[in-house]
Symmetry: none
Subunit: 251 residues, 2 copies
DNA sequence: TAGTTTCGTGCAATATCGTGCAGAGTCAAG
DNA sequence: CTTGACTCTGCACGATATTGCACGAAACTA
């Protein structure tokens, strides 16, 4: 194990898990704690992470991320993302929608996965720069700032020329009757278009989105292939979704 | 075993395994460690891999790379960015290249500025989400991870349909004779194309880039409108640039 | 406050690095 | 064919980097 490899690994662990315990990590790698502590100190010196007693946390920007994750419970999103990342087969062409849940998905893609990821979200694109084997295809267009995705005719035209195996869609509402919905008309249109160009559409939904509805429908529930959500939801909520013929994955 | 064969093999191993240990590799090939180390040094000099203690890693996992670039002289870059931001008139259509200096530019755009910013860099796009009055047009394409910009035919086609007033270009080398250069052929082609579609091209160059040259020429010096650099450089360095007929702005 | 864990530093052992140098091979001019 | 310039390679050696251990200081926990 090369020193720089170890340091890269440390940063990867921090990105994916949000924290690192010096003792545990040294045992996992079979090196002394001193070595890990030294690495942490040096990385902290470069501003690449935040040193804390017992280990390390992600650096500044991600710190807020982690803090808010703890509060808002968006570690749920990390779990959803992790589960979704495992659904991707090597060599597949995957369309990743924008949104924080999909950022988590990107962050948890196995580092040895070879695949093509298409996205109209610059945030996702930046996140995927770190993945050595994932080829990224960026969809251009006018940037819709609220969701940080490209929309408009240019995007639509680029999307219409692409066929993907999977589409991981973000949405603000998933409701048995109104279907999958979002808060912007243009965004809804783009999402619908991407879904049409993809063999399977997968929706990742946290608890508060299930049963919620936003102004603009993207597609009816029946057009979704798989709905990924957290485990432990009331059976009553789930029943109405099950009857729509979609695969329900509980994490 | 020819030297060039060995070097090709080194790069292949790096692509396939993601790392190379000098000692092991020398034994495997039956040559001395010195020879391997020499190869690694030379390849690293050409930017084809990243030299680390004990061996080598692929050129740009871009991870620590970009992060560390962000660190290097970022206060200087911030000053350059600030000065460049003031060159933009309200209502103009501005093309922002990728790179850390341009990120600084984006960060320092006056918050009341109304303008259209076109970019093929997702990093820049994300940065501009914060600006309330700047409309962002994202250029899509295949993501070139080292520089974090979209390149390729798709990008070229999108760019060719756009006319901009200003183009803030990034480059790794600005030299009186070799002109403006960068380290990737495709990136150089894209930059040249953007410049052709723009009324004026402005280059932001930190001290270490002046007088430096990279493998691929984007354009001769004479095609640049304005060169923005830090103040206090030796007159000797500046003279050769002044004679090219470009406007020199010292910050 | 007392006990335990973690931290930082100094130190020694080991591994790796860079450089200078010499021998072997190649090639072209004489 | 010889000679000289050049390149590639391996070796020697001093310099530098990395690692684990020891030990006192600091931080955390009950």
């Amino acid at each position: 194990m090369l020193t720089s490899e170890r340091k890269a690994l440390i940063q990867q662990v921090l990105r994916q898990e949000g924290r690192l315990v010096a003792k545990d990590f040294s045992q996992k790698l079979g090196v002394s704690e001193d070595t890990i502590r030294r690495d942490l100190r040096e990385l902290a010196g470069e501003g690449l992470l935040q040193r804390v007693h017992g280990g390390a946390l992600p650096a500044s920007s991600a710190v807020a991320d982690f803090a808010s994750r703890e509060q808002v419970g968006s570690s749920v999103k990390a779990k959803l993302g992790q589960a979704a990342a495992r659904m991707i087969q090597p060599g597949q062409i995957v369309f990743l929608d924008g949104g924080t849940t999909n950022v988590q998905l990107a962050r948890h893609l196995p580092s040895d996965l070879k695949a093509v990821v298409i996205t109209h979200s610059p945030s996702i694109a930046v996140e995927l720069v770190r993945h050595p084997h994932v080829e990224v295809e960026l969809i251009g267009g006018r940037l819709f700032k609220h969701s940080i995705v490209a929309v408009g005719a240019t995007s639509a035209e680029a999307i219409s020329r692409i066929r993907a195996d999977l589409f991981f869609m973000g949405a603000t509402g998933v409701h048995p009757e109104t279907g999958v919905t979002t808060g912007d008309r243009e965004e809804a249109a783009i999402k619908a278009l991407i879904a049409r160009q993809s063999a399977e559409t997968i929706v990742l939904a946290t608890e508060e989105k299930l049963g919620a509805a936003s102004p603009y429908q993207i597609m009816p529930l029946s057009d979704i292939g798989t709905l990924v959500t957290v485990a432990g939801l009331p059976e009553e909520t789930l029943r109405s979704f099950r009857s729509s013929g979609l695969a329900l994955v509980e994490v």
